[in-house]
Each structure stands twice: as C-alpha cells, then as structure tokens.
C-alpha cells in the first residue's frame, strides 16, 4: 500500500513540475487535482512509514487506524476498495505532521535537507526545459498497459522530498 502511495506521489510530483513548463501557463484545475492526489498519497505513505517505524522501535503506534490498511490492487475485475478511514483526511494531516516531528528517528530524518543533499532519483530535474516527450506520447499510440496484478515497480527508498505547497498562486 505504501509502495503504491509512494509511486503515486512520485508521479504526481513529476506532473506538477512539468505543468510549469506547459504552454499556456499553469493550469489551476489540474494542479489542484494533482496536489490533492499527491497529498492523499503522501498521507498514506507517511502513515505506513510511521507504522513501520513504530513496529521496528516497538513503541506505541502513532496512527491509530493505520493497522487496518489493505494493499490497493489494480485488477480488471475488482474495483479499488479503500475504506474511508484509510484515506487521510485533513484533520489527520496536522496530527501526523506533529507526529513526524516527534517520531523522527536516526535513519529517517524528516528535516528538509539543504541543496547539497542528495535528492531521490524520481524527482525531475529542477532545470527548466521544454519537456515535449509527454505530449508526444499523448499524440502517438497510448495503449493501456496491463500490469498483471503488480501495480507498482520497485522503488527506491524515499529519504526526503520537499513538501511545499504544490499550487503556485496565480
């Protein structure tokens, strides 16, 4: 579940970055939807991360409902089943943010790192460039890939990423 959430987070961030170079200016509607999806995925990911940390350190779990998470499967026949409590809501956000600060461990520092720190590979380049590859993909054949039940690829460990607000005020 958290692997899927991390993947969605990575995809969302990539899309948000590419929005800035799109012709016609920043699309408010699209960036709003992307940031909402990214936040939801981020919350799920953090919840799962905290759970894992708590289990490893044998402390009381931070998020009370996180234990009931189920993996999100993408299959042909069954729709995604997520109970409401599994999807992070806004009040939980502030709670978890506080817990992030309190539950910081040695291995997973949640402090924002300086520019010299290594950033995860999945983040797009910060250098502004005309990214036309994505648009070309839309015009050429786009066939939905089957994933045979494996909904995510192997992802690398997430160390830190900027959690600034994604919507640039127009």
């Amino acid at each position: 579940m958290d692997v899927e959430a991390k993947r969605i987070m990575a995809v969302s961030i990539g899309k948000l970055y590419s929005l800035r170079t799109q012709r016609g200016g920043l699309r408010l509607h699209r960036s709003l939807l992307l940031s909402m999806t990214m936040r939801a995925a981020r919350d799920i990911y953090h919840t799962a991360q905290l759970l894992r940390d708590a289990e490893e350190e044998q402390v009381v779990p931070c998020a009370p409902d996180a234990a009931t998470e189920e993996p999100m499967e993408i299959s042909k026949d069954s729709p995604q089943t997520l109970t409401p409590k599994e999807v992070a809501v806004k009040p939980q956000e502030t709670l978890e943010e506080d817990k992030e600060n309190r539950c910081a461990s040695e291995r997973h520092s949640r402090k924002r790192r300086g520019k010299t720190a290594v950033e995860p590979d999945f983040l797009p380049l910060k250098k502004a460039k005309m990214d036309t590859d994505e648009e070309k993909q839309h015009l050429q054949g786009e066939v939905l890939r089957t994933n045979n039940g494996n909904s995510c690829r192997q992802a690398e460990t997430l160390s830190a990423f900027p959690t600034n607000r994604a919507i640039v005020a127009c």
Binding site: G24, L28, D77
Partner: protein, 460 residues
C-alpha cells in the same frame, strides 16, 4: 487544415430496423485529414450546431474556426443524408504573450456558442483561455457596379473623361462569406476561461474561468460584472474550482456552475449582485466503497448542460452521466455509466493523463436521449425513455459507410464475440471529447482527434 478535406459520398439503401447489435445510426460524413500524422494545430477543440442546425462550427487548437453549412436541397428530402459543406473558415484567435506574467496565451478555441439569429447574418462567440470574441458571419452575393469615379477594377477615372452621371447598380457575384470580429471582450479573466453561455435574453452572456464568472452585455466590451467569485483569501486554502457554467435556457436570471468537487450550484441573479450564495446545491453523497486516491479527480464535473425544456440538467464526470431534476438537489434522477470498466484502471489513466480528459455531453432536441464520448473513438448514446444504451464507434475504416453502425461491447473477460473488445485493447489516444446534437433532427456531430464525424439516424 481543410485543404485535404474529403467527404464520403454515400448511397443509402433501405435501412433495416434495429437488429441484433445494430443501431439506427449511420455514418454520414467525415471531415478532416486522413493521415495518421496529426498536427497539433489541427486537433479539434470545439463543436457546436447553431440554433437551427443549418450551421455547424468547429474550433481547433490552432485558433481557427471552420463553419459547415447544411445543403438546402437534401435537407427536405426524408431519406437523404444531410450533407454539410465548408461555409466559412477564419482565424479566430492568435497566440498571445502576457509580458507581465511571462506566459504564453494559447490560441486554442475552448468554446463556441451561437447567438440566436436575428437577421440574415449569423453571430457566434468564440473563446480561448483569456479573450472572448463576437464574430459576424455574413454573405455577400451582390456587388455594386457602375461607379462614376472608378473603373471596374478600382482605378480612378480621369476627371476629363467624366461626362455622364449614373447610379451604380447591384449585380450578382459569386457568393462570398465574410467573417468579421465585431467585439473583443478581453482582460477580464485572470484564470483560464472554461465556459461561455449566451443568456435567453439575447443581450447578455456569461464567461467562467477557474475561480470567477463574469456577466457581459454583448454590446459592451469595456466592462463586465463579476457574479461569482470563489477565490479564497489565501490561495493555499483553495479546494475547489469552477469547471463549467451555463445559463438556463428559459429563465434569464438563472445559471449553474459545476465544480471540481462534483457539485453543481444553481444561482439566481435576482438574489444579489454577487451570487456567491447558491440558491441550490446539487450534490450526490459519495459512495464510500468506491473511494480511492483518484476519487477527487473522477468526481470533477467536466460539463453541465440544461435540457431544452429547462426542467433537467445533465452533468458529466469522468465515469458517469447524471441527469438532475432541478427540483431535487439530493441526488440525480438518472445515472448512466459511460465506461465503468475504467474504474479499476484509474492508476494507469492517472499516469498517462487520460484521467484529466474533459468530456462534453449533449441532449437530443426532444430531451429523450443524451450522448457523450469515450475512448477508442467510442461514443455512448443513452435513451432515457427506453432506458437503453448503446456504444457506437466513430470510424471510417470499420464497417461500410451508409450501413447502420454496429453496437459495441467492452468486456473484461477473455472470450470475444464479434463486436466485443477487451478493456486492455482500448486505444486511449483516440477519444471523443466534443459532441453536439442537431437541435431538431437526429444528426450528431462529434470530434475525434482531428476528424469531424457526422452521423444521422434513419427513421424506420
């Protein structure tokens, strides 16, 4: 774009009735280039019949508008196809640059709306992201000849050769269709315009962007009234944007706007100058069992259309079409699944950006049927009276022209019957976003990526 335009010539034989997997719809015409290499500028972005159905306007990403006119001869013959031919082509919008924000403004035509016809000329409103324009399309089939001071070619005559005085007379000439911009309504929108709608009073119209709706008078370009403003004081608190807006077809004080959260608000302009307080809120509670990461995205309203009667309203979100009775806000009276098989594919559709596609929808003239587009160049027809739906394909390759279209079925299993296709075989690059239904006849126009398809329903 239309230099390589071609049209099917169809010989329609007697059409069988509704058989097994057959509809009563036939392909009438296809407009546009046939090659696979699609220029970005040629991608159609708007389709709209005028109020009589005689004219059909299309807009594209290159900022051009092409208007087709129905042939008068074939219109009156019952069994004949209604042939639409190019009537006028003009450049409506050009790319612009906002120097203050260092942003390019796309010339893509977002919406076209016709004004009801008052005289021989036709008027339409077209809009890109920032500017709305009023275009007058008029015919000229006569020109004055026999000037006193000028030769026929325009050269001025020598004064000494002027010995007589005559009155110029109008002589017939080859028909010329002129499109001229009569008004330019600019600089009123900070965000991207997504809708325009002409009021039933034929004097005003509204334009909507992500956060605001403005009311204009057609005659005045230097001012507009802001009637809806949902911009929060702090943009970080933004949770919802306006996605579509339309005036009521009969009540000039009423309009609706849809939001990215899946709700529709009906506002009454008599209540206050700023209609931030809605009169009605149409919202269906979300089904918790279907909640996912993408619930927000798929609930976003992509189009809202009143029925011709004004009694109902239709909304389109990513997976469904909903018909609402304006008297009941709690839930829609009818819900149609457009392509429910995509519900399990949302993650992939998010990755390839298809989940952000904005599909339009339209009503049949008598409000008995509704239509919307889907992927794989499929379009969906829902018969409200018979509670029957069909999936048809816009394709000039499959099937022979003139014959009734076969209905399709999308299945998830492995077995395939004829005219069945698996979900994983759908081509998501071929999509029908823009559709329009003739106001009186059963003729529909829809746009694939760069082709315009016209279908006609054959009577029994």
């Amino acid at each position: 774009m239309w230099s390589s335009c071609w049209t099917y010539s169809l010989n329609l034989s007697s059409v069988p009735g509704d058989g097994d997997g057959q509809s009563r719809w036939c392909l009438s015409q296809v407009k546009g280039a046939v090659d696979d290499d699609v220029a970005e500028a040629d991608i159609i972005s708007a389709v709209e019949f005028n109020h009589s159905g005689e004219l059909l306007a299309t807009g594209d990403r290159g900022g051009r508008i092409v208007i087709f006119q129905q042939e008068q001869e074939s219109k009156n013959l019952p069994q004949c196809r209604a042939e639409y031919n190019v009537y006028s082509t003009f450049q409506s919008h050009e790319p612009e640059f906002d120097y203050l924000k260092s942003l390019e403004i796309e010339e893509k035509i977002n919406k076209i709306r016709w004004l009801p016809q008052k005289n021989a000329a036709h008027f339409l409103l077209s809009t890109n992201d920032k500017t709305i324009k009023l275009w007058k399309i008029s015919e000229r089939d006569k020109r004055p000849e026999g000037y006193n001071l000028k030769e026929e070619d325009g050269r001025y005559r020598h004064p000494s050769s002027l010995t007589t005085l005559r009155v110029p007379v109008f002589q017939p000439m080859d028909l010329m269709v002129e499109a001229s911009p009569r008004r330019v309504y600019a600089n009123a929108h900070t965000y991207h315009i997504n809708s325009i709608s002409v009021n039933s009073d034929n004097e005003t119209y509204l334009s909507a962007d992500d956060l605001r709706i403005n009311l204009w008078h057609l005659d005045f370009t230097d001012r507009s009234f802001n009637i809806v403003d949902i911009k929060p004081a702090n943009m970080e608190e933004l949770t919802e944007v306006i996605t579509a807006s339309e005036f009521h077809p009969l009540q000039c004080n009423t309009f609706v706007y849809g939001s990215s959260k899946g709700s529709v608000r009906l506002c009454d302009m008599r209540a206050s100058a700023l209609c931030d307080q809605h009169s009605k809120l149409f919202e269906e509670p979300e089904d918790p069992s279907t909640r996912s990461f993408f619930s927000e995205i798929i609930s976003s309203i992509s189009d809202v259309k009143f029925s011709h009667s004004g009694r109902y309203m239709m909304t389109r979100d990513y997976l469904t079409l909903k018909i609402w009775d304006l008297h009941m806000e709690s839930r829609p009276v009818e819900t149609y699944q457009v392509h429910g098989y995509l519900r399990s594919k949302l993650c992939s559709l998010y990755e390839n950006d298809c989940i952000f596609d904005k599909f339009e929808c339209c009503w049949r003239g008598d409000d008995s049927e509704v239509m919307t587009g889907s992927y794989n160049n499929f379009f969906r027809m829902f018969n409200r009276d018979a509670q029957r739906d069909s999936t048809l394909e816009a394709s000039w390759e499959n099937g022979s022209p003139g014959c009734p279209l076969k209905t399709w079925r999308v299945c998830t299993g492995s077995r395939r019957k004829r005219n069945e296709i698996g979900v994983d075989c759908l081509d998501f690059s071929r999509k029908i976003l823009y559709t329009s239904w003739h106001p009186q006849d059963n003729i529909v126009a829809l746009a694939t990526v760069n082709n315009l398809y016209i279908f006609q329903e054959k009577p029994n």
